[in-house]
């Protein structure tokens, strides 16, 4: 047996988990929206891209004013979250709500239209070139010994994502709004009969999903240090794959699916060839859809009557 290069393995694992966290953050938005209104919100990847751009603009402004990097990262993150939440809310009201009682295909097409619109809007309003993202993440002294495995930006991504996901889990489990969201996902009509306003729940879902995507956008941009109008497309499809992998509609599923997909990609790129990285995600998507459409943690689909 050949010696296993543990160091290399660990490096791939960490980079997979890092990417997986970002997929998970975006996948949550897909899965939550699907859970409530059974719509694949194809414009969701664009919200993530908008989050990255918002962060960049804030960083530009605050950088000129001489703010410290950590401050810029925090403020950029908060502004991106607020801005994207407003975006998610508005997109739902404009593109999906009027189609609530239409056939299932209509909102899907509307979602694709919204996605193309947002991409081109950013392309025209900003630029189609790649923009350099400032390095907002400080060097942590305690990461020095393992710096070849875990970069500070990776560390921040893993810690922040874990925190955000933990808070989301507690929120969904214990708060009044969280319970109402689960109830609406499980049976919208019954939720309505209990006095739960489904329009508000749907809005809240879009807002939360968009906020998570914004966090992902700012984090990934600080990690890769370059963005353009198109980054939402691939990230969106991969996060969607992660959501399907975990079981669309399942919140823990989206988290697990994101991490698993990130690691699969990382190992495929590391042990096979980096050319396979993107192809791998789509191969996984197709395989799940064929062999286990309910995903890792999802339930076998019960047709709603």
């Amino acid at each position: 047996m050949a010696d296993i290069d543990w160091h290399y393995f660990l490096e791939l694992l960490v980079s997979g988990v890092t990417k997986g966290c970002i997929y998970a953050l975006i996948a949550l938005g897909y899965t939550m929206v699907y859970g409530i209104i059974e719509l694949i919100n194809f414009a969701h990847g664009e919200v993530y891209m908008l989050g990255a751009f918002t962060g960049l603009i804030v960083a530009g402004v605050l950088g000129v004013m001489g703010f410290p990097e950590t401050g810029i990262l925090l403020i950029g993150g908060v502004v991106a979250v607020i801005y994207c939440s407003a975006y998610g809310f508005t997109v739902e009201k404009i593109a999906y709500k009027p189609l609530r009682n239409a056939t299932r295909l209509s909102p899907l097409i509307s979602a694709i239209g919204m996605s193309i619109f947002l991409q081109n809007y950013v392309r025209i309003a900003q630029t189609q070139d790649f923009l350099r993202y400032p390095n907002l993440i400080p060097d942590f002294a305690f990461l020095e010994p393992i710096s070849d495995i875990l970069r500070p930006s990776g560390f921040v991504i893993i810690v922040t994502s874990s925190l955000v996901m933990a808070v989301l889990t507690l929120f969904i489990k214990y708060t009044r709004l969280g319970k109402a969201m689960r109830a609406t996902a499980q049976n919208r009509k019954m939720a309505m009969l209990l006095g739960i306003d489904s329009d508000r729940i749907i809005s809240a879902t879009f807002i939360i999903g968009s906020a998570l995507a914004a966090v992902g956008g700012v984090l990934i941009a600080s990690h890769t240090q370059q963005i353009n109008f198109n980054i939402g497309f691939l990230a969106g499809i991969k996060a969607f794959t992660a959501a399907v992998l975990g079981g669309i509609g399942s919140i823990p599923g989206a988290m697990l699916g994101g991490i698993v997909l990130g690691c699969c990609e990382s190992f495929a790129a590391g042990y096979l060839s980096s050319d396979y990285e993107d192809m791998f995600a789509f191969a996984i998507l197709i395989l799940i859809l064929i062999f286990r459409p309910s995903g890792l943690l999802g339930k076998a689909k019960v047709q709603k009557v």
Binding site: R176, K179, A180, R182, A183, Q186, N187, K189, M190, A191, M192, L193, L194, G195, I196, D197
Partner: protein, 234 residues
């Protein structure tokens, strides 16, 4: 307390209710009996704002409610236990009950009401942390009724609570209906099981293909030869 005047409800272009007139007075148990597909559930959904009227009106304590959103109607004090119970299957018994009290803010009274409900249905207290979907049919019906009671309604609408349950459970459920009514809650009971329903109700309505065809005090209906033939199987 509740009045339906000339209610016509449609599903798309199909008319399900034809000029339904019906009154429920404070403190009564009123039943609506009819065969499968008669329009009983549609009547309840119309009251709750979950099915839109095309004509007619619904008044609750004199106030028109047929244009209100469902959550507003719940707030006014009308709760429904829908057909098929519609328990949230992946939520615990406790969470199902919490959702019943969704619109209430009086935390302390909620806790007290829940204790009362656990006294009524001790099995629910035992199943508290279990997922709703794992309960038996009878337990689910108890949970569905309890969930509606957690809203502290003044008018309780029940859609075929006896459907598919063992006779002993049915008896228990009807006892509870009598009990909550005695404590002051007005009850509107929809049933195919006319025999049981007319026995607990003060008055009844008979519905056929979307129309009210008969109404009157329960004993009168039970004595009516047509009702006996069509619904009581005698």
């Amino acid at each position: 307390m509740l009045e339906l005047k000339g209610v016509c409800t449609y599903y798309g272009n199909i008319q399900a209710l034809w000029d339904v007139n019906l009154t429920i007075n404070q403190g009564e148990i009123v039943t609506l009996v009819g065969a499968n597909g008669a329009g009983k559930s549609t009547t309840l959904m119309s009251i709750c704002g979950a099915a839109a009227l095309r004509r007619g009106e619904i008044l609750f304590e004199g106030q028109p409610i047929h244009t209100m959103r469902p959550d507003k109607i719940v707030r006014l004090g009308i709760s429904q236990v829908p057909e098929g119970r519609l328990i949230f299957p992946d939520m615990t018994v406790q969470e199902n009950l919490d959702l019943g009290a969704y619109l209430r803010r009086d935390t302390r009274n909620i806790a007290r009401d829940q204790e009362m409900i656990f006294d009524m249905f001790p099995i629910l207290a035992k199943r508290r942390t279990q997922a709703g979907g794992t309960l038996s049919g009878g337990e689910q019906q108890m949970l569905a009724i309890s969930r509606a009671l957690m809203a502290k309604p003044r008018l309780l609408l029940l859609d075929e609570p006896s459907l598919g349950l063992a006779p002993i459970i049915i008896r228990q459920i009807f006892d509870i209906i009598r009990q909550v009514n005695k404590e002051g809650m007005t009850v509107f009971l929809v049933e195919q099981n006319a025999n049981q329903a007319l026995r607990v109700a003060n008055r009844g309505y008979v519905m056929e293909t979307g129309r009210i065809t008969l109404s009157g005090p329960s004993d009168e209906l039970m004595a009516n030869p047509e009702v006996r033939k069509a619904y009581l199987g005698v």
